[in-house]
């Protein structure tokens, strides 16, 4: 599972996604919302990279930008050897089969006037030339794969429960044999007992089809379950990225520490003994990020340097990256970085 492949499937460097803010009568450009501000990450083949953070931190924007659903402000994105950062949408269209997306809200992302067969078959119509029968076979195959009965093919989305709708969305994403799927909060809208069903399905499909996931979520427990490596975002930047076990066992960035500490544990005894780090205040606006470290306004450890200099995102232990002035570097400079690391370009 974690064998080191020669090159990562997805390689993102210095990605920036800024949305301009216009104001006044002349709609002058007065500033930018820096939704994603200089992030770099790799996703290796067949792995799941978890991308976590609170609402407004830019994780969804990052996921969409990686698939070029936006024209990005700056940076480079390479997927399966092709640099897609600057190519136009027409050419991009031909690459779409390789990279797909599963959305958060299965209600809003399925056309209510199309049947399941229509929804799952649409990418096949757009991108492949199949006969009607071949197409139907493929639709049935996909429905089998995600655990939907074939007899549902002519039903409409409103006839399904949330979990089943999410299965339809997954079947659609799988239709063109993608390699890379961005899962944007795929379970956030589902009930607890249904979440586990969908997560298990995603894991099964990954194993069966060798899929690579960027799994965006605010649910830290679920990400711990599904991800191989985890990146934590705060206010448009990645503050920490590490292999899963290491991140959860020894978080280095003060924000990661607070975030993990804030997750309540379903065990009253441990919950009452545990020390909680309670952050004060709210996340600043991405249109008006603080000078220095983005986290300095809420960080319990902030000192003067944090309010002046933005800490560099660097590797502090093998495969463990963080952006904090107070984390000491334990890597040997000579050691080449191992698989899936953010060696600087």
């Amino acid at each position: 599972m974690n064998e080191a492949p020669s090159a990562p499937l997805v390689r993102v460097r210095g990605l920036k996604m800024h949305f301009p803010v216009h104001a006044g009568l002349l709609r002058r450009h007065v500033g930018d919302i820096k939704a994603v501000d200089d992030i770099s990450l790799d996703v290796n083949e067949s792995e799941t990279l978890g991308l976590v953070g609170e609402s407004g931190c830019g994780k969804s924007t990052a996921g969409r930008a990686v698939l070029r659903l936006y024209d990005i402000t700056d940076g480079s994105i390479t997927i399966d050897g092709t640099d897609i950062s600057n190519i136009d949408q027409d050419k991009l269209r031909h690459l779409r089969p390789k990279m797909q997306m599963i959305f958060q809200d299965p209600q809003a992302s399925l056309n209510p006037r199309m049947t399941v067969a229509g929804i799952v078959g649409e990418p096949l119509v757009e991108h492949m030339s199949l006969s009607k029968n071949e197409r139907l076979d493929r639709i049935y195959e996909l429905m089998d794969a995600v655990g939907l009965a074939r007899s549902f093919a002519n039903r409409y989305p409103h006839e399904f429960s949330g979990g089943q709708r999410q299965r339809i969305g997954i079947a659609r994403a799988l239709a063109l044999h993608p390699k890379f799927i961005v899962c944007d909060e795929p379970i956030a809208a589902l009930d607890v007992s249904i979440q586990a069903q969908v997560v298990n399905l995603l894991e099964d499909l990954q194993e069966r089809f060798g899929l690579t996931y960027l799994f965006i979520s605010h649910d830290l427990s679920m990400v711990r379950h599904i991800a191989d490596r985890v990146a934590v975002m705060y206010l448009g930047k990645i503050v920490e990225l590490a292999p899963r076990d290491e991140l959860y066992a020894t978080p280095l960035h003060p924000y990661t520490q607070a975030l993990l500490s804030a997750v309540p544990e379903p065990d009253p005894v441990r919950e009452s003994q545990r020390k909680h780090i309670i952050l004060t205040g709210d996340v600043p606006s991405p249109a008006n990020a603080p000078v220095g470290c983005n986290f300095c306004t809420r960080c319990p450890k902030a000192e003067d340097i944090c309010r002046q200099i933005d800490p560099e995102f660097r590797e502090v232990a093998p495969g463990h990256f963080t952006a904090c002035h107070f984390v000491t570097d334990t890597t040997r400079k000579t050691a080449g970085s191992t698989a899936g690391n953010e060696a600087n370009t």
Binding site: E54, S55, D191, V192, H225, P264, E265, D267, S272, H276
Partner: protein, 334 residues
């Protein structure tokens, strides 16, 4: 936690039926429970389990359009809330029982200042003068941890962040010193670090004010940290109820047991594969004549399809509505 004594809220046999285009939906089916003074009662269940509808029914928040609320009694403060007039109910909602809703975005009126909205119940229900209400409103904002309270009274809801708005909602619910506070998923719409702030605030307020709280949530972690006692709801019924430590250490109902296992942990051991509860929660088109969980239950047997199990007392404050005994792994004696 619950000292012997009179319950502050006593619900007996509450039933709620919605008339829908598809037929009658039995959302709440014979729910009975007591709430002790100063206690924090957690109510856990998935969407559609009837947890919110139960609470809205008992304080008459469903309106009379399509919901039929029936029951033996809902005793609060010497009154039966099922029998009192709409005016009396209004008074209870204002001053006796406070309510905090899930979504702080939609439960505040965007065109009035926070101060105005906070002062409204104080003037209507407590009969305070404008200046006294203003002072009290500022006190309340201060109590829920909003800095610079007096100045912020003239701000509008959109000038507050999500967490701050939920603090305002809590302040509003506390305005008239209610005996009972019903909090319906008050932290679900919030981020975890903000949720941690609100949970901390609620624990603090509870110690300061000492009111009884009903906390509705689907998050077992939140319940573990905050509740004294927990009720688990499924299919519009209470399937299990126990003190919090007992429920987590000795869950009896197959649904509770499954629910505890399906949630991945953030600390401790990590399972390779998540445990799953197969199937879907039921939609109750009739009042239950069999166990509502039997379609998803791995232990269901004949009796579960023929009868709806009553709640059976199995320990101090612990009861469960199930025919199956997890200790022996066999059906309980009839």
């Amino acid at each position: 936690m619950s000292e012997a004594g009179a319950a502050v809220l006593e619900v007996k046999d509450l039933k709620t039926v919605f008339e829908t285009g598809l037929g009658a939906v039995h959302a709440v089916n014979s729910v009975s429970f007591d709430l002790m003074p100063g206690e924090l009662l957690g109510v856990v269940g998935e969407s559609g389990s009837g947890k919110s509808v139960t609470m809205m029914s008992l304080i008459g928040l469903l309106g009379s359009t399509s919901a039929i609320v029936d029951g033996a009694h809902v005793n609060f403060d010497g009154k039966d809330l099922l029998k009192v007039s709409e005016d009396e109910l209004r008074a209870v909602r204002g001053a006796g029982i406070g309510f905090v809703f899930q979504d702080p975005m939609t439960s505040l009126n965007p065109v009035f200042t926070v101060g105005f909205q906070l002062m409204e119940p104080l003037r209507n229900h407590m009969g305070l003068s404008k200046s006294a209400a203003r002072m009290r409103a500022a006190e309340l904002l201060d109590l829920v941890g909003i800095a610079d309270a007096t100045r912020r009274l003239s701000d509008y809801p959109h000038q507050f962040s999500g967490g701050m708005r939920q603090r305002v909602m809590i302040a509003m619910a506390l305005a008239c010193d209610p005996k009972v506070l019903i909090a319906d998923e008050p932290t679900t719409a919030l981020d975890v670090t903000i949720q941690a702030q609100i949970l901390e605030l609620m624990k603090e307020l509870r110690n300061k004010i000492g009111m009884a709280i009903i906390w509705i949530t689907h998050d077992l972690g939140v319940i573990a940290g905050i509740a004294d006692r927990v009720m688990v709801m499924y299919g519009g019924q209470i399937v299990e109820q126990a003190p919090v430590n007992e429920l987590f250490q000795n869950p009896q109902h197959p649904y509770t047991r499954a629910l505890l296992k399906t949630v991945p942990n953030i600390r401790g051991g990590r399972a390779e594969r998540l445990r799953v509860i197969e199937g879907q929660p039921p939609i109750m088109f009739s009042s239950p004549r069999q166990c509502t969980y039997h379609t998803r239950c791995t232990h269901a047997f004949e009796r579960c399809l023929k009868f709806d199990p009553d709640r059976l007392k199995i320990g101090e404050g612990h009861d469960v509505a199930c025919f199956w005994d997890p200790v022996t792994g066999e059906p309980r004696d009839e």
